[in-house]
């Protein structure tokens, strides 16, 4: 069995034709993933018992003549910020190195009900804070395409696992680009659905007004299938949306003729070099498919980085307050008073990036600065959302770059937090507006580094986003 070439459809066909059982596939996928993992460090730990139990349930369903589910037997990797009952969930942090969650995230429950087989938990930046996966307490992940380079972040492990072929699909989380940017760096598909489309119950909170769960895959259709499984209202997450979930994967007809696409002039002026050329070629390809392309303006773009890093750090400083040495396994041993216990536990265990963001967030929320920073940022956020609403009066979808550059060298940017934050410019605007957006492969640089193209659509119009991406993918190389 050639594990890296599997798709959701090919697994389903193989299972129903009895070419292999889900148990055989799970065993082989686990052996392959464990053997390949030292090359990238994409996985923090594997879950053989859970995987084999899930596979056995799929085999039982098939033996009884029942439908084995939309993700029957599919090997899935899960970012280690999404909780799994009885399976260690570290969030890439020393603070949770031994944390065993007492419940499953809703997305996990839905994946397994659909027959998905969770093979392991993937590495990520600590508490999903970073753009390179270098902020994990358990070491960086290497880009499978170029091992001296980063896989992107924060969901670097989930992107690398799918690119490396050790999982067919994976789950990541995206707050400001943490699914789309690593997808572009590793040359795979990565989707951030509409805010509220997928329940966050069991997703460790970073910035609650921006957090999303989203899938990675090697094809557009596989991400569409996974989103169809995990999306939908969940009573356990009051922010999850009630809008009905279309069967996205069945709506990919490859026809995008006459669709109006917008190109944001503010994004293209900042995009130089090979990434810019590849995106331009991608846009030409969309034109040959019959799309009408026009320039649009998103004038508040210049303020998006400041806006995002104020809101995200403010919310993070509040969400990370819970790691106080009481409920989550790790406590500093050097404290006589409760206050010292809190301070020492946090000081000794949070990594540098988490501390930086906690400090920033606490500062912008503190007395005297709240109006100047936090409230101001919320107003600018409204302007960014308004920009998109106006653009979608003229176009059906927006096409944009994902990152100003392809995967960079390990260690290249770790000492310059501002430069690292600025590189998130193209992904955080969509996050602030809460609209669906995805990254899909759009060719490679002369050095062979993947470049991703972003497709963004109106709230809850994932269908158009997937249709554009699917038609683009079917049309072949740029």
């Amino acid at each position: 069995m050639d594990i890296p070439s599997l798709t959701i459809d090919s697994i389903r066909k193989g299972l129903l034709a009895r070419q292999f059982s889900a148990t055989e596939l799970a065993g082989e996928a686990l052996r392959f993933a464990e053997g390949e993992n030292p090359k990238t460090g994409a996985y923090l730990h594997f879950s053989p018992e859970r995987a084999l139990a899930a596979a056995a349930r799929v085999d039982e369903r098939i033996a009884r003549g029942e439908d084995p589910g939309r993700l029957a037997g599919v090997p899935v990797a899960v970012k280690d910020v999404i909780v799994t009952k009885g399976l260690r969930t570290t969030c890439g942090s020393k603070l949770l190195a031994n944390y065993i969650p007492p419940y499953d995230a809703t997305a996990i429950v839905r994946l397994e009900q659909a027959g998905g087989v969770i093979v392991g938990k993937t590495n990520c930046d600590e508490f999903a804070m970073g753009s390179s996966n270098e902020n994990s307490a358990f070491g960086p992940v290497r880009n499978p395409v170029a091992p001296d380079r980063v896989p992107g972040g924060s969901s670097g492990g989930s992107a690398a696992a799918v690119a490396q072929g050790t999982a067919v699909v994976s789950l990541g989380s995206d707050t400001g680009g943490s699914v789309r940017q690593p997808a572009s760096f590793c040359g795979v598909v990565g989707v951030t659905p509409t805010y509220g489309r997928v329940s966050r119950y069991g997703l460790t909170a970073f910035a609650s007004s921006l957090d999303h769960i989203g899938p990675f895959s090697r094809s557009v259709k596989d991400s569409a299938t996974v989103l169809g499984v995990i999306a939908g209202r969940d009573a356990a997450d009051s922010t999850s949306a009630t809008a009905p979930v279309p069967d996205y994967a069945s709506l990919l007809d490859g026809n995008v003729k006459g669709l109006k696409l917008g190109l944001p002039v503010e994004y293209l002026k900042d995009l130089t070099g090979e990434s810019g050329e590849l995106i331009a070629r991608g846009v030409e390809k969309l034109k040959t498919l019959g799309c009408e392309v026009r320039e649009i303006s998103l004038p508040a773009t210049d303020y998006a980085i400041a806006c995002y890093y104020i809101i995200a750090t403010a919310e993070a400083s509040s969400n990370l307050a819970r790691y106080d040495g009481v409920r989550y396994t790790v406590r500093s041993g050097h404290s006589d008073t409760l206050a010292d216990m809190y301070r020492n536990t946090r000081g000794e265990n949070f990594g540098a990036e988490c501390k930086r963001r906690i400090m920033l967030g606490t500062y912008v929320l503190s007395a005297g600065y709240y109006d100047a920073y936090y409230l101001k940022a919320q107003k600018v956020r409204a302007l960014i959302a308004r920009d998109f609403a106006r653009a979608f009066e003229q176009v059906d979808a927006i096409v944009a770059p994902v990152s100003p550059f392809p995967a960079f060298q390990l260690g290249e940017k770790v000492d310059d937090p501002v430069a690292m934050y600025l590189s998130d410019i193209f992904t955080i605007t969509g996050s602030l507006a809460g609209i669906p957006c995805m990254s899909l492969p759009c060719g490679k640089t002369a050095e062979g580094l993947p470049v991703g193209m972003q497709v963004l659509t109106r709230h809850f119009d994932e269908t158009t986003m997937f249709r554009v991406a699917d038609a683009f993918e079917k049309a072949g190389a740029v």
């Binding site: 007492p102 806006c307 501390k355 606490t362 920073y373 107003k379």
Partner: protein, 99 residues
Amino acid sequence: MKITEKEVRYVAGLANLQLEEGEIGKLQADLESILEHFDKLNEVDTSDVAPMAQVLFDAGETAALRADEPVAPLGNEAALANAAQKGSGYFKVPKVIER
């Protein structure tokens, strides 16, 4: 935006973060350069804009409510399973009240 070492220590106190001496200087420099970038927002006129606290959808105000019926709780044992220190069914912490 100038940030002093004293302010860094004050904010660390608010955030319950014990910082090493070496970390204070680094954070002072980082916060200063990041806050300088944040000041860019002063260029934007937001006098007639309402703050956006959440991505808003056309959901009714009771959309997030469920029927008021009891459901099974997590249970004491599971809730305490990850406690740093526990005893007699409670989380244990250093003594708070002096006698």
